[in-house]
Amino acid sequence: MIEMDAKVLIAKRVAQELKDGDLVNLGIGIPTLVADYIPQNVKVLFQSENGIIGMGPIPEEGLEHPDLTNAGANYVSAIPGAVCFDSAMSFGIIRGGHLDVTVLGGLQIDEEGHLANRMVPGKIIPGMGGAMDLVTGAKRVIIAMTHTSKGEPKIVKNCTLPLTSIRRISLIVTEMAVIEPTQGGLVLKEIAPGLTVEDVLKVTEAKLKISSDLKIMKIEGM
């Protein structure tokens, strides 16, 4: 088996979840990488909450526009047919259920599929930005994150960090597993090539149900 950077593996697997025609919002960090691995036969539109649909890749040097950035204030390009709008429209799209998929990072997810993606209380709380609206409003919420942080499980019984929303997220993709939160709990649907179910359970605090149809993640290049 070829070794692959955990972040790339996660991004590649998340990219498989996107459907032709989807409107997609990618969060900062691992989610941003997803754009590089969209299957060739799938055309999606990227929305950024600072006010654009049709966001394109980082522009060539010299072609940056000071008024054309993503939600991280990095220069982006606009594909033909792109549209810009104000923040009320942008969050109208998000909260109103018009965004097909949001891919976000996560710090913790509990057994009920609730996400916490803000900083540790008592330390700095940098604020929720647009994450609460994204998790509340998007049709599908996919969390792309490493399975553990410094060896500590991030998929836990109860979040110790403040929740981003009480909406149950749709899917968790880590470098070890694909897990679907359901009304009955977290269901382990796929494990990464070369891993056993035991390997996953060992670093997961939350109870996982093993899908009767458990699969090995299919990742190109592995």
């Binding site: 008024d67 950035t69 991280g72 700095i124 940098p126 929720m128 009480i166």
Partner: protein, 215 residues
């Protein structure tokens, strides 16, 4: 609408004013007005904006200059100086989900008494707020925000004060233009009346009190 030098525009702002400032991480923030506010040392400001950008850009510069006593923003994650002042209790930080923040400002501008949003239900954001159950879904009542001044940035204006924004620099600017007593717009150019078609204007000039041209 009056065209005005940036010095005169900023002289109108008293210490302690409540000010909305457009922009998203500094993109679409009126830079020249901000720099003049720092030069004129406007103290004890309450600033409403999406974020505090970076220490060397946008609203971040006001924070670094210690001119702000309170901010209402959706995050401060990109500005360590804001976080430092918050820990030292030198600045009061009210964090509001971004979509809620823009709706609260819009409500202030369009004369609504508040809006009901699902965002924040079951989280710290809901603390102390009224919750409404409508058709089995829960919503928070979020109240309008208004300000003494809105300082916004646009690409171009016409001589009536009609504004056009550029790409993602639009963001909070058109919404804030509706929600403040006095609106100061920083623009790159001022065009003759009639040269911007009625369908292409983003903010009607009736909202704009003063224009500062910076190019």
């Amino acid at each position: 609408m009056h065209v005005i030098k940036v010095e005169k525009a900023v002289e109108m702002i008293p210490d302690g004013a409540t000010i909305m400032i457009g922009g998203f991480l500094g993109v679409g923030t009126p830079r020249v007005v901000i720099d003049e506010m720092i030069k004129q040392k406007k103290f004890n400001l309450t600033v409403i904006g999406n974020d505090t950008a970076f220490p060397n850009s946008g609203i971040g510069k006001l924070i670094v200059s210690k001119l702000v006593k309170k901010i209402i923003v959706s995050h401060i994650g990109t500005n360590p100086e804001t976080q430092k002042q918050m820990i030292e209790k030198a600045i009061d930080v009210e964090l509001v989900p971004q979509g809620t923040l823009v709706e609260r400002i819009r409500a202030g501008g369009v004369g609504l008494g508040g809006v009901l949003t699902p965002t924040g239900i079951g989280t710290v954001v809901a603390e102390g707020k009224q919750i409404f159950k409508i058709n089995d879904a829960e919503y928070l009542l979020e109240l309008p925000i208004k300000a003494d001044f809105a300082i916004i940035n646009a690409k171009k204006a016409d001589c009536n004060g009609n504004l056009v924004y550029s790409l993602t620099a639009r963001n909070f600017n058109p919404i804030m233009a509706m929600a403040a007593e006095t609106v100061i717009a920083e623009v790159d150019e001022i065009l003759p009346i009639g040269t911007i078609p009625p369908d292409d204007i983003h903010t009607p000039g009736i909202f704009v009190d003063y224009i500062v041209r910076v190019r």
